[in-house]
Amino acid sequence: MHGRPDHIARKSPAHPRRWLPVVGLTLLMGTPALAYEPRINYMLQCLGCHGPDGRGEPGRVPSIRSTLVPLSRFAAGRRYLLQVPGVALSTLSDQDLAALLDWMIPAFGGVEPGQFRAFTTAEVARYRRQPLVEISATRARLMRRLQARQ
């Protein structure tokens, strides 16, 4: 039976000053550059399921063409867009994720770049770390809300 070892050698804690050069260099570098442009990040992170045009697969993968713009117009919808697992758990940074969403909305939603409220890095950072527990129920509630608005 494998158990926890009785004696665990504790390493001496790293002195905080040792990390000062690293922290300083990171701050000096400022905002990290985007790994890929949003169009390529869509291919790498989303296209596999939602397809090249965002239509998904009826009954299995939701289309983002008709829902992205209306959901981005109210707070609960914006939270959902950032908390849905494919977005929240992606390997993209908060900045890359904000840039991707701000590219997707005009690309698939049929609106001009200035006609929607853009996502900010701070907004992405705040909401993607709050897990969405009841995904299907939340989506169904939001879809009813969208239908009521039409």
Partner: protein, 178 residues
Amino acid sequence: MSRFDRWMEESARSMARRTSRRGVLGSLGALLVGVGALPLLPVARGAEKPAKPGKSDADHQDATQDETRCDYWRHCAIDGYLCGCCGGSASACPPGTVQSPVTWVGTCHNPADGIDYVISYNDCCGKSSCGRCLCNRNERDMPLYVPFRSNDYDWCTGSSVANIPYHCSTARVLARAT
């Protein structure tokens, strides 16, 4: 007896007195081994140019152009039977199969032009497994619990258009990764 015959007889007897059959065989064997071992001497090796590490030019050429090889550059993260060996190609499903619309996407480096490309690994479905050219390469592949970055899934399941069974996999170029 002619003078020539006497000369031949004396020569043969003289050689028979000086040599033995085993001795001839031994000398011949030593000569063969010696000639074979000559290139192994350090002098011969020192005169040669050092071999370049890595693949030969022929292998490099195949890796960039032959779609039926596992080391073809587009197959850098494929997991399945290569459609190029199954009646299709790296970009198209074989006749009688349907391409799964759901897939996973990654990037591969093309050694011919030194550029990274976005590659879509679409499974071809609707016929039993091809069984030829099984290829499993896992560059930047993630475990199953990161589903959109894992190549271990069978994308023929869960598709309304292209249902099971799985036949083979393609590796389509979508764009230049910039």
